[in-house]
Amino acid sequence: MVAPATPKSWYLPSKPHKFCPGCGHGIVLKALGETIDELDIQDKTIFGCDIGCSLLSWDFLACDSTQTHHGRTTPVMVGIKRARPQLITIGYMGDGGGYSIGSQHLLNAAVRNEKVTLILVNNTNYGMTGGQMAPTTLPGQKTETTPYGRDPEKTGYPTKGPEFLSELTPDGAYVARATVSKYKQLRRFLRNALRNQIEGNGFSFLEVLSTCPTNWRTNAQQTWHFLEDEMEQFFTVGEFKTPFGKGDK
């Protein structure tokens, strides 16, 4: 039997979705929808998205959803979780929203081991605003604000979120990096990131390496090449911290 293509927790009136063709956001949200179905948490999930291309998911799921300011998804989700701990809170943000303007919130939520699940989509640029440098832009990568290529001497090296968050968080936290090129693994990590909140163990964070052909100005082949041969080489995919066994390295 063929599995149904559309997760039950997708909101059908908002489909087809508004991401560009070839965008990784759609893959992440498909995996998320399937995971919500599998864990049967649709009715008690609060989905919150940032400003950035993640905002295009404000009505993507058939879950109660809210959208906030650029970088502020983390504290809004923390507020919801603190007020009603029985709800499952999923914050969905970009690499700019999470690692740049919202980095103080991310860092402090991690230190406090806030029991929220945050999903951060790393596409190495600011997609929504037209492709400027993000904290995750690779050395030498051209963007609108690094037209001659990112120079680490001037702008530092790409932020490695899971690496620093796994150092900051106490036991019980879950921290991992997935990629849209490895779908089954992405599903497994999402399940763990949500299970961890459901069990009340601690902070859960999943970065997902994703694609942005529009701003990378790449065709399908080049897009996949950049993801697998550049991004996945620079950013280690795996579980950095997990209460569930040894973790997937």
Partner: protein
Amino acid sequence: MQKVIGETKKAFLTGNEAIAWGCLAAEADMMFGYPITPQNEIMHYWTRLAPKYGKEFLQTEDEISAGFTVCGAIQSGIKAFTATAGPGNVLMQEPFGMAEGMRLPFFAIIQQRGGPSSGTVIYSQQEVSLTCYGGNGEGHRIVYSTATHQELYDYTIKGFNTAWKYRFPTYLLGDGYQAKMREPLEMYEPSERGIDIIKPYPLLGLEGHIGTDREPQHLRNIYSMEEELYDVVLKNDADYNSVRQEITEYSEFNCENAEVIIISHGVVSRAAEDAVKVLRAQGIKAGSFRPITLRPFPREQLLAVLEKSNAKKLLITESALGQLERIVKYEIYGQTLPIETLFMPGVGIIDYDIIQKIKSII
């Protein structure tokens, strides 16, 4: 000094591009910025042009940081600037407050977008209150509201000079339409127009040995006693009022014998002037008054225009829900003319809208 423009030339540019060139012509040294629509292309052009002219750029982690890095860079004596919009303007109120409190020559470009909150990325005139009076201070700021691409270029050059001359935070208040549309303008070397570019100077890291050549600099924005702060605020206010008249700018169009005067600012004033032409051709005596500086507001000039006209009514129109209106009412307190309004928050206003409105009120 390397000439940026060379011979005066006609250009056909987007507003953001015109501003980037204006910053170069004004001899700005460094931009600190954070991406936000509809300001992005100022940054994009600056990052492309900067290395060619030995200039610098840093993309910071957010607007709070962009604003405070500008404060630091200015204190160290370089001509630094930033540009932002909407929610970025909100975040920058904190560093703008530092600039206001410490009298830093901070020049910023604001390209208004729809609000509140993330609103739209397109256009509005809803950042008037924020830009003129934001922060926990008294609005000791200078705000130029531009209407054309020529003005974007002109007032970018002027804005830096104003900031460095008077040492009040100075803003070029544009909007998403001006940012994104293309329009002809003339670009020139300021010296060709007799404009002297004011050189930056350090407030910290001064020449000479401390103790022998000079005293150490101790800059601050917090005071132990109420009376100390009181004196500072009153001094700033006195300074502001003493230069108010020389900073104030406005323009008027067909106000003599006008029976109805339209008050608007920025890009909307173009629709107002077009409306006046049409109305006059139809025998309706309309005129237009436009504050170019929203802070300080051309109060005496507006009162003089009302005096010499035959105005029986005012129409205030803006792409906001009364932000200009509140300023005008405050400034001309005591006048008894009826005031009509045409408010279209976050939406463009064209001559047709104004013509219809005028016909409905006379």
